[in-house]
């Protein structure tokens, strides 16, 4: 039975459990690269996680033994210890998940700081265009973001590709305030390609399309049907209606609250993934003109011959560099 005859001891033990559980979660966040459980943002320097975790564990034990005078008198019963440990673990989990949500890099924040470029609004599309300095003609890239995010979120990648000598057009999924449905969604990439082909600084023979997430499926589908597209890059495309990652694996990519939002979006996305059926169009894309970047933990379900597959780099700057170099070779 839970009596807690010494409330002060019970509170001290609860604090020990909460802080030491936070420490263990930080070490595991560093070991397993779980962004959603890390208080330092989760990417890069994982030794921060190990150091913070060890400090929390050692500090909490040292504090408990230093300030708890009633250690060697009858204190908490076994069932009370178990209940307090469970409460401490839950408390630690709430603190960590909330703290990690605040610490996790927010894509919109990065986009706000990035150079969004020149706004393009036509009846068929809405987006942002980046044009390199000089006379050209330049190779062109049509960028499709993850479904649910804005073309402006790709500002940093687009600006980096512009600096490498590409005209880029980042297109938005939302046209006229509504997210397009199948088959209307199939018109998005062709509209972007047409817009780029009509720009005087674009080399019409060197047109590429790049898609992120479900945007990758859209890019693959467009590359399989439009002969004007010479190269395609898909970054973590969905390809199947099964989510690439689920459960704890989702916390590798973002915070707990972001995972909740992804899950909500996934239901709508999975219908569109099946309708787009991008894998059926892979074979129609000419060999050596398709690159798929995928997280190493979840390789694409059915890699085909002629498709180049590389691991997804950790930062958006590295992603832009890989895409830029590959497109310089293949466009």
């Amino acid at each position: 039975m839970l009596k807690f005859v010494s409330p002060r001891l019970a509170l001290s033990y609860l604090l020990l459990c909460t802080l030491s559980c936070m420490g263990v979660l930080q070490i595991q966040a560093a070991r397993q690269r779980l962004v959603g459980l890390s208080l330092w943002g989760g990417r890069g320097k994982s030794w921060w996680g190990y150091a913070a975790g060890l400090l929390l564990i050692i500090g909490s034990f040292a504090g408990f033994y230093a300030f708890t005078l009633a250690l060697f008198v009858p204190g908490l019963a076994g069932s009370e210890l178990a209940a307090l440990f469970a409460a401490g673990f839950l408390l630690a989990l709430v603190v960590i998940l909330t703290g990690a949500s605040l610490a996790a890099p927010h894509p919109e924040g990065a986009a706000m700081e990035a150079d969004k470029g020149e706004v393009v609004i036509t009846p068929q599309l809405r987006g942002w265009v980046h044009v390199p300095q000089g006379l050209g003609p330049f190779p062109a890239l049509c960028l499709v973001p993850e479904m649910g995010s804005s073309a402006g979120d790709l500002g940093m990648v687009a600006a980096q590709l512009r600096d490498m000598g590409f005209v880029t057009l980042s297109i938005d999924w939302m046209v006229g305030g509504e997210s397009p449905r199948y088959p209307d969604v199939l018109a998005l990439v062709p509209a972007g390609v047409e817009y780029l082909l009509h720009r005087p600084e674009v080399d019409k023979a060197r047109m590429g399309v790049i898609g992120f997430g479900l945007g990758g499926d859209l890019a693959l589908r467009a590359a399989g049907t439009d002969e004007q597209i010479a190269a395609a890059v898909a970054i973590s495309p969905c390809l199947t209606a099964e989510p690439c990652d689920s459960g704890l694996d989702l916390l590798r990519h973002g915070s707990f609250w972001q995972a909740v939002q992804w899950r909500r979006q996934w239901k709508a996305q999975s219908v569109l993934v099946e309708q787009l059926n991008a894998p059926a169009f892979l074979s129609r894309i000419p060999p050596r003109s398709l690159l798929i970047l995928h997280p190493p933990e979840s390789p694409p379900p059915a890699p085909q011959t002629g498709v180049e597959i590389r691991p997804l780099p950790a930062t958006s700057q590295e992603v832009a560099q890989v895409i830029g170099r590959w497109c310089e070779e293949h466009l």
Binding site: C17, L25, F61, Y65, F72, G75, G247, D249
Partner: protein
């Protein structure tokens, strides 16, 4: 039990000689240190593993450890109801580095808990199980050193806890739906 008392004297005889060793053993034998460390080990094990299959194996180990712990505690309660063995300090002059527990000396609760966790984890993850096993051994040793248990109490606790965990492991197929359901539920909230 002469052998029990002789072995007790051999281990407890080291107590009271070096304050540093006494301090270390009191640190290990108290109710909070190693029990919390083992619980933290279970938390770490739950999140261990890059691959989903590997992680699920560890999570099953954690759930089986918790179930074994519950079963071992029930059995301990029952043992304490039917049998009482006085603590060593009631019958003999000993070096006591601890408070005076009033419950039965046999079986040792801490050994039962420690070995229930250790054997459960061992059945699923050898390296983690070894860590738990060493911790449980250290816990039992420290309790004898501090004068609150006979070696026989620790041995009985280890057999009880370890036996319950082993049997639970053998009958794990019966518990599979429950384990699968808990892991599925944890996956729904991104924690498995």
């Amino acid at each position: 039990m002469d052998w029990d008392w002789a072995l007790f004297q051999l281990i407890n005889g080291w107590a009271g000689r070096w304050p540093l060793l006494d301090g270390a053993m009191r640190f290990l034998a108290n109710d909070y240190g190693l029990t919390t460390a083992m619980s933290l080990g279970l938390v770490a094990l739950w999140f261990e593993g890059r691959e989903r299959a590997q992680r699920e194996r560890n999570q099953r180990a954690v759930l089986m450890a918790i179930l074994s712990l519950l079963a071992a505690n029930l059995l301990l309660k029952w043992c304490n109801l039917i049998y009482f063995r006085p603590r060593p300090f009631y019958a003999h002059p000993v070096h006591l580095l601890f408070y005076y527990p009033t419950d039965s000396s046999l079986p040792s609760n801490t050994a039962a808990v420690g070995f229930a966790l250790a054997v459960s984890v061992w059945l699923w993850n050898r390296w983690a199980g070894l860590g738990f096993l060493l911790t449980a051994l250290l816990f039992g040793w420290a309790r004898i050193f501090c004068g609150v248990h006979y070696p026989g109490d620790v041995l009985a606790g280890a057999l009880l806890g370890g036996g319950v965990a082993y049997l639970a492991g053998r009958w794990q197929r019966l518990l599979d739906p429950l384990l699968g359901w808990v892991i599925w539920l944890a996956r729904r909230i991104y924690l498995a």
